[in-house]
Structure formats: C-alpha cells, structure tokens
Symmetry: C2
Subunit: 325 residues, 2 copies
C-alpha cells in the first residue's frame, strides 16, 4: 500500500511516522529539539532516526513531507526563518532529497495540520474550509477550492489578526480588537481569571485553587458544575469566537470551519455552541438562502501535522500520475 | 484582432459593446430596462440591439460574456434570481448560444467588474486582489491566484458583512458593526449629515444648502475648502475603511485592494489616505516582513462590467487554446 513519511517539526519535538494511504500510521519516532543546536546537526540526527523506517527501493514509498514552523517557502521547500528553532535559510527539501533520493515537500506547520484534516481527518469531504487553532494565539489556515491558500508570498491567512472590534482590546500586533485577543486560549484564561477576581463565590475557585492554576479548561469545567460566573465566561467566549466565525462565513462561505488547538479539546461542547451561534445569525434577518457552514473540531489532534506533511507527498504523487496519464 | 461582446446588465440599463484584445471598446449600445417586463421580451430586444454589432462568420469573434446582478450560477450560465429585474430561472447562456451560435458566459456583476479591472484595467499586473465597491452598500469580489473566488455555491465574498465592531452600528443583515455600516457611500453621507446637524458653522452647509442634498462627495468637497468638521468626517471614514482593509490584508495578503463605487470617484485623494493608514499599521509593531498591499481606485469606472463580461470569453478562449495545444 502506498505510504509517505510525515515529519512534523515543532518547537520542542520533531515527530515522524509513515502514513499509509488508508490513513493508518506506522511507528512514531520522536526527536527532542535541542535549543540553539545547528540546523545541520539536528537534520543529521533526524536522518539517522527516520532511516530505519524507510526501505530503500520500496516502490510503494512515494516521498517525504515536512511541516515546519516559521517563514516557509513551500515552492522552494526552504525554511527561511524559524525563530523558535534558530533556523535560518535551511534548504529542507534539498537536504532530504540528497539524503534519501525521493521527492520531499515542505509546508508551514499550520497549513500542514489543515491539510492533514482535509486529507485524512474530519475535513475529508470538504473543498472549502477555514481552520482556526485556539492556542496561545489564534493560528489559521485556508483551504479553498480543495487547495491551501496562503496569499501573496505565503504571508496571508492570519485570521487571528482580523479585528472584530476596532475600539477593542489592544493586540500585540499594534491594532485593536483582533480575534486573537478574544478567542485564543490565552484570552479565555485571562477572562476566567478576571471573573474569578470579581466573583469570590465562583466555583472556579474550587477548581483552580488560585489564579495561577486557571487554564483554558477551567471555565468549561466550572460551568458543567453549574457555576454562573463560569457560564458567563464561556458564553462570552462562544460569542467572540462566533462573531469571528460569522465574518469568515460571509467572506468565504466555507463548507466547514474547523477548530483546533487547546480550547478545541472541549470538542462537541464547544463546536455545537458555536454552531448554534452561527445558525441564529448567519444572514438570518435578510432571509437569504445561503448554504450553512458546519463547525467541526479537529479529529487528528496532535497527529494532524504528521498526516498533513505526508499528504503533501500523496497530493504531489496524485498530480504526477494525472500528468503522465 | 480578437474581440468579444461584453454585456453589462444593470437595474436601469443594459450596456453592450465589443471589446478588443488590446482593450479598445467598440460602439456602445444601451437598452433601458423596463420594470416588470418579461425576461424573454427583454432578451429579444437585446438580441435585436446587439445583432448589428456581430459579423456572422468572423473568426476573430470569440464569444459573448454577460455580467448580471442577483443570484447567478456561473457554471450553468443561468440567472436564478434577480429581484431588481424580476428575473427568475433565466438561462442566459443557452438563450445567447441558441441565437448567435457562439459560446456565451455568465458571471455575477460585481465579479464581472473585478474581472474587467483584472484583465483590462488597473489590476492587470496582479494575481491576488480584493475589490470593494463603496456604494449604497459595500459590494465586493475576490481575485485569488488569478481567478475569481466566490465560495461555496458562489455565496461568499460578502466582505461588506465582515463586522469590524461587534458592539457597533446595527446592520440590516441582523449583525452589528458590518463594514458596510461604516464604509458605504450611504454611511458616509449619514455621517456627514450628523456632523452638519451638530455643527451649524460647518462649510458643509454652504455646499449642501440642506441636509437632503448632502451626498458622498460633500464632506470631501468641504474638507478641500478647509472645513474642520468635514475633515473629521473624512478622517473617520478613512479610518473605518482602513480598518476593514487591514483585516483583508491579514486575511488575504493581497497585492492590491481595489476601490470602486461612488466614493472611489474621489480617486487618489481617497486611495492615498487609505494607503497611508495601512502602511502605518500593517503589522508595523510586530516588525514582520510582510509584502505591502497597494490601494488602487477602479480605472474602468462604469465600463468595468462590459470589459469584465467580455473577459469571460477571452479567458475561456485562452484556456481552450491551451487545452488543444
């Protein structure tokens, strides 16, 4: 069965696995990232680690895909700059092709995760999808007409820096009211802490003990136990995220909005509430007949990056096969 | 020289002209729209009108393009619903092909205008462009990777209904703070009227005489004459439009944002100010190296629709030639 090697480069670990056409993963191998290490040294360790996974001459092995953070030039297959890794001008494609004599493909990590979901995950059926990762910030990706769209020089799709309130919260980017200031895990935690400080009677205090141990799950947890303060925090969060999603509905009219990152661990409890928020407001008053947008949570979790990296090789292989037919 | 017939269907007139490959227009013929007239009757009048423009058997004549308001299915070439015209389920493609025995193509009017600018106008050099028409509402179109993008079922690209302030002005769509409520010609006029009501000393009163004669140009005119109140209205307008454009920069990272519609008649005076607004705030504080986005005003004016309709035929012809090579 056809298979490709997917490599997901992160700030703390590099995760690798074979991915089979039917969506099964092979053995997963993990390389810890050593801060400040030369890129060439890291790559050599990586080569040694994945080498045993590859059977030279296996005709069903179709290539290597790499998802990498930072400024990626996916056409050239280079990582131009990845601050967290200390990588500058690393020609990943060439390094892997020289070493393993198969085609290698490189994409930015968020796009790779989106491609994983679109190829092997919950987004398999869709050709128009918006991806939001609700983590430290709000990361994002666009899947339009069945392809990743990343804008001029690959520098677009920064949906977290769409302002939903130009008088609103100050964002690190210099503007006010960016979606990231309301819908990131960081913002949710900050809002929960503020609510705790105001409401000494809140059950949030039972769950978190102190302000410092409050996390993105705390408000959802306290709400389940019937806490009014926590419910207000979560309702506001759903509203903020919902307003961002309504904008994205009107801009892209996507088939699906896919939620990933820390807050998306709330699963159905989050997605169904955002879905209701959209359904009640999606051009409702105008009575226009617009196709609905499904709100989904990521199904591949932390493996989405590996899947998406491998998907790069599957897609290139499919296009090549079409071209030679 | 290759040429196509461009037909721009509007609410009050239908404008038609041959468009030559080099961007020259032929004689323009215009059919007034009779409210409530049967679509088939209007089409027969239109056939009679354009028939003399077409020389049967001319090999350089490559087809007919039609830009039409309302719900358009561009794949099928039908107008499913155009409320202002009273058209329902009109198979435009088939009607023109049956009558003239050449290929016909249909697109929604805003997309056609964008395509006109992208093919023959100020947007010729660009492959990633966002189009905003600042009129009664804020209409829009997306040109991504050198093609029109209109979302699932062609119901996206409603950039006027991107909220920039979810606590803000009430929009007819049911949401609050839509860009349309701030950046349309209607909003600009309303803001100028409010300022007049507050400031009896404003020069706006010299220009408009009364509130009812205030229009989207009034504030720009009074500002030129040194009026402080008018300057504030225009500065706020630039800020509103600028905030919308900054969102679009972060979402699409387009090469250009193209402004059309009534307010864009202010030309360079508008575009240069929006350009400055963007340049000062486009991820400036983060110090990220992002490609700049040019702010341009429509160069084809009210002919953009004719050009764009004809462009549909040119593009189809080019693709056909590629395919048979």
């Amino acid at each position: 069965m056809k298979h490709a090697l997917g490599i997901d480069v992160g700030g703390t670990t590099i995760k690798c696995s074979l991915v089979y056409e039917n969506g099964k993963l092979g053995e997963k191998v993990i390389l810890p990232v050593v801060k400040g290490e030369e890129a060439s040294l890291t790559l050599n360790k990586l080569f040694d680690l994945v080498s045993p996974l590859l059977d030279n001459g296996d005709k069903d092995f179709i290539g290597i895909g790499i998802g990498c953070p930072g400024m990626i030039n996916s056409k050239k297959g280079t990582c131009d700059d990845a601050t967290n890794l200390g990588w500058h001008n690393v020609d990943l494609k060439r390094a892997f092709e020289d070493r393993f004599h198969v085609s290698a493909f490189v994409e930015n990590d968020a796009n790779a995760a989106l491609l994983g979901e679109a190829t092997f995950g919950v987004g398999k059926e869709y050709r128009h999808m918006v991806f939001l990762t609700l983590g430290t910030g709000v990361g994002s990706g666009l899947f339009l007409n069945g392809k990743i769209y990343s804008g001029n020089e690959g520098k677009g799709a920064e949906l977290g820096h769409m302002s939903i309130d130009f008088h609103g919260r100050q964002c690190a980017c210099g503007r006010k009211g960016c979606l990231e200031c309301y819908a990131s895990a960081t913002a949710l935690t900050a809002d929960a802490k503020l609510a705790m400080a105001k409401h000494k009677e809140s059950l949030l205090w039972n769950i978190c003990k102190d302000l410092d141990s409050c996390d993105p799950a705390s408000a959802f947890e306290a709400e389940k136990q019937g806490d009014k303060t926590a419910k207000e925090v979560v309702d506001n969060y759903v509203r903020y995220l919902g307003e961002g999603c309504l904008n994205l509905c009107n801009i892209f009219r996507p088939e699906a909005i896919l939620l990933g990152g820390g807050v998306a661990k709330q699963g159905e409890n989050l997605s169904s509430r955002v879905q209701s928020y959209l359904s009640e407001r999606n051009y409702g008053l105008l009575g226009l007949n617009v196709p609905s947008t499904k709100v989904l949570v990521s199904s591949l979790g932390s493996d989405a990056g590996i899947y998406g990296a491998a998907a790069l090789a599957f897609i290139a292989n499919r296009e090549w096969q079409k071209a030679v037919k």
